[in-house]
Each structure stands twice: as structure tokens, then as C-alpha cells.
Amino acid sequence: MTMTIADLVALLPMIVLSGGTVVLMAGIAFRRSNGLAAWLTGLCLLVSLACLWPASGSLPVRVPPLFLIDGYFTFATALVLLSSLAVLLLSHGYVGALRSSPADEYYLLLLIATLGAVVMLGSDHFATFFLGLETLSVALLGLIAYPRHRPDATEAGMKYLVLAGTSSAFLLFGIALIYAAQGTLSFSAAGSGAGHTVGVYRLVASALILTGIGYKLSIVPFHMWAPDVYEGAPAPVGGFIAVISKLSVFTVLMRYFVAGPGRMDHAAMSAIAVFAILSMVAGNLLALGQDNLKRILAYSSIAHLGYLLVAFLSPETFGIAASSYYLAAYAVTTLGAFGVIGILSDPAAPHDVAEIDAYRGLFWRRPWLAGILTLMLISLAGIPPTMGFIAKAYVMTAGVGSHLTLPLIALILGSIIGLYYYLRIVVVMAMPVSDRLGDRTVFPTRFSGVATLGVLAVLVVVLGLVPSMLIAPIQHADPRMNSEFVHAATASSLLSDRKLGSHSE
């Protein structure tokens, strides 16, 4: 039970984040400064990122019974930390302009939420999963409702609270049932006994867990909260919810179902397939009627989770690599889109600038911002030369390889519908300038935000044009590599995937 040095090294990213949180809190206690807090947070994220390096040579490291640090963790954590850094930079100017409260606590919450996400990514046990999830959710609550003067934000926070609480309860009850049925809370150990304890408990437990996770991922029958929360939350926080919270929950889902005990659970898998189809179709359809960019992004993220689940459903072929790439693409683009909203918005105003009408003529007023937003929308729509295109193609490859006919049809339908509303925004931006909204100046303090957007845009294009830069590391991050549940069949298919992977002309 005692930890070795190697274990500690493997857990270093989490330790750094936790320590950073404490230091930041102490820092805030003695000197309230927006800039100092931002610097500390950024530094902490970077150090944590660097701490992925020392352990990377000797992966996987299992820290029984709570953590499993493997390549998949490394990849996902890097993604989360970088996304978090992006959110930090995007929010720096934004929260700096808040008048109702100092911004330093915002960074504290951001750091705590990131810590929660990272804990989740490394979890090999329901306890750590749950702890991470709740650390994330509770910190997010604070972030959502941070602009106290905005009624919308408070309301969104309240909605998120009620739904997060309810979904946590569902999840927990499911976990409790699994525990009662199997006597262990560990992902890996739960699987070994899974074969002979399939029964009512497990069935009910799966249903409850899926409901809980469904809420967290906001996939279709459980999606109602997402648009409201996205609309009410400050724009950078919207990006955080859309990217980091979903990414980490999805990763756990992957760990549990693909590499862990859930893979035997065929009922759950078919339920996920149904949710995926519903998400793709309904998410896109519902987005059609929206006039608010944040709401559109919310529905689009619902749909994107659906696409992602297609990859999830086909782990035997390229599914895992596809989902990893998709997550990266989704993260970059979604952050970019929310970032543009954030840069155009004044946090002291009662709302962010998210009504589509406000974007009229943006192309001619702020060509670069409009260009970046267009790029992000194009990527979300899955059109080259962006990451979104490669991601969608990758997911489709996986789906075709696993003969997922219905989900693929839904994917295509969804994509076509999706094109319509993404293009609508682009069209509005290309329309002649309207005088109604006047000229909105970009805040001079937002240099960090603009620069971040630039980097994101470059990433979208470069990784869309040269995807192998990302695909190569992803292939080393297969969670099945260190799982004892790899069936003989899967193992062989895994091998063949690798062989194919190495094949080139």
C-alpha cells in the first residue's frame, strides 16, 4: 500500500496542481492581484504539463488501487492542461474587466476544476473518478456564476447545480449498486468478476451510471441543461465546460467501457449507440432554430459528442485513436469559437455578445476575428483544411470498419444539418455591416486572448494539414495497451491496427 518514488513521480502532475491550488489560495490571501493570480495559475499548469515528462518513460504505472497512469492519461492530461491554459489566456482580459468582483478567485476555481479533471483522467477506481468529477463540477459551478452581477450567470449556475447534483446522485447510486454486487470499486478488479455477477444489480447499475454520465456529457435524452448553462456562463467558461469537463468524462467512459469491465456490457453499449444516434440527429436539428451563438455551440457540442461516441462504439478498428484525435480537434475548435465570443464581449455588460445579429458584418469590421471564427465553424462542420475534417473522417473510418450502419447514417444526416447552421453564421458575418450595434472595440488588455486565438487557429489548420503530427503520439496512447481485459481477439486486431499503422508507401 505504501507509495514508491515511481508512483509519486507518476502522480506528479496531480501533485503539482494540488500544490499550486494551495499556493494560489495562500497568494490570494496575502495579495489580491489579478495579474499575479493569472501568472501563478499559468505557471502551475505549465509545470504540471512538464511533469508529465519524467514518468513518460516508464509507463504504465499503476498506483493501486486508485490510479492508473498510462499513455492515454498522458495524452488526455496534456490536452486538458493545454485547454485549460488556453481558457486561462482567453479569460485573462475577460475577467480582468469584471467590475463586480476581483478576478483572482476565478483563476483559483479554474485551477481546481483542472485538478478535478486530471484526477478523473488518471482514475482507475470509482472513488477517484467520483472525487475528480465532483471537484470539477463544484469548481465549475463557481466559474459559471462568477460574474455576480449577471442574473443569467447565477441562473445558469443554479441550473447546473441542480443537474449536476441529480446526475451525480444517479452515477453514485449506480456505483453503489456495482459495489454491492461485486465488492470492489476498482475498474480493473471489477472487470475480473464481471463475468459471473451479471444480474439485476448490474443492469440497473449500468442504467444509472449511463444516465449520470449522459447528463455530464449532455448527450441527447439528457441534454436539456446544456444550452441554458452555456448561454448563461461567461464565454471562456462555456469553452471550459464544453471541452474539459466533457473530455474528462469521456475519457473515463473510454477507460471503463473499452479497457475496463464495461466492455462485456452489451446492453450498455447498445444504449450508448442509441444515445449517439439521437445526439447526432436531435442535437443538430435543435441547433437550427437558435439565434444565439452560444446556444448553437451548445447544441453543436451535443452533436459532436454523438460523433465522438461513434468512435467510441468501434474500438476494434481505429476508434480509440479516432476519438483521441477527435477530442483534440473538438477542444481546439470549441475553445476557439468560445474565445471569439469572449473577446467580443464585455463581462461588465449583462450578457455576452452572442446573438447572431451582433455578428453581422464582422468580416469587414474585424476581419481576423471573423476569419478565426469562420475557421472554427468550418472545422466544427468538418470541412478541410481543418482538424475537424480529419477528425470526422477518422471517426467515419472507425465507424465503417465496425459496420456501424445506423450511427453512420445519423452522422451524415447530422453533418448535413450541421452545415446549415454553421454556414448561417458565416453568412451573417459576411453580410454588410449593420449600424445598429455600432462598433465594438476590442479591449486593449486582451492581447493574450487574441494571441491565443491566433495559436488555436494555426493549430486548426496545421494539424488539419499534417495530422500525422498528432496521430503518431495518439497511437501510443491506447488505453488497451495496459489492460488485462484485452481479449485474444481484440489483441490481435490491435496488433493488426498497429501493423497497418506502420504501413506506408
Binding site: 467520483f130 459551478l141 442574473p151 441550473k159 447545480l161 447510486f173 456505483i175 448561454e231
Partner: protein
């Protein structure tokens, strides 16, 4: 001292859970909704303890502590939000909270 079988304890937990869920769905007052969520969370805590009892492990109780902590954290934040809401609106009826369409 009579013992309660884990089965029955879980059944009780399930009933509590259902009551809490019903509360969340039916109640319109935010405070009551929060309380219902607490009931659901505590029901899961009970289920964990029952599970722990079945296997004779402390894990269930540990999970219960964690659940309690979560419930505490959530309720504190919830209370703060409700206070914020109430300074703007006289009522805590969740149906009136519809500035956001949804």
C-alpha cells in the same frame, strides 16, 4: 442488536433515492429541490454502506464520507447561489427562473 440485511438496506436506499428524485422533479422551490438532491445523495451513501457491510469492507463507508463531503460542498455553493438569486427576485420558484429559454 438486530442486523439489517444489505439487500433490505439497498432497497431502502432505492426508495429514498426515488423519493428524492420525485422531489427534484415535482418541487418547484429551489431550496426543496436542493434538499431533494441531498436526499438522493444520502440514499446513495446508505447504499454504499450497505454494500460495504455485505463485503465486510471499509470502502463503503469511505465512499459515504466522500459522498457526504460532496453533498456539503454542493449545498454550500447552492445556498450561495440561491442567496444571489433571491436578492434579485422575491421568489424561489424555479419556474420563474426562465430568463434563459429552456
Amino acid at each position: 442488536m438486530g442486523t439489517v440485511s444489505p439487500q433490505n438496506a439497498i432497497l431502502l436506499a432505492a426508495i429514498l433515492f426515488a423519493l428524492g428524485l420525485a422531489g427534484v422533479l415535482i418541487r418547484r422551490n429551489l431550496i426543496f429541490m436542493l434538499m431533494s438532491i441531498e436526499i438522493m445523495l444520502n440514499a446513495t451513501g446508505l447504499a454504499f454502506v450497505a454494500g460495504g457491510a455485505r463485503w465486510g469492507q471499509p470502502d463503503g463507508q469511505i465512499m459515504f464520507l466522500l459522498v457526504l463531503t460532496l453533498a456539503a460542498a454542493e449545498i454550500s455553493v447552492g445556498l450561495a447561489l440561491i442567496l444571489l438569486l433571491q436578492t434579485r427576485r422575491p421568489t424561489l420558484d424555479s419556474d420563474t427562473g426562465n430568463t434563459l429559454r429552456g
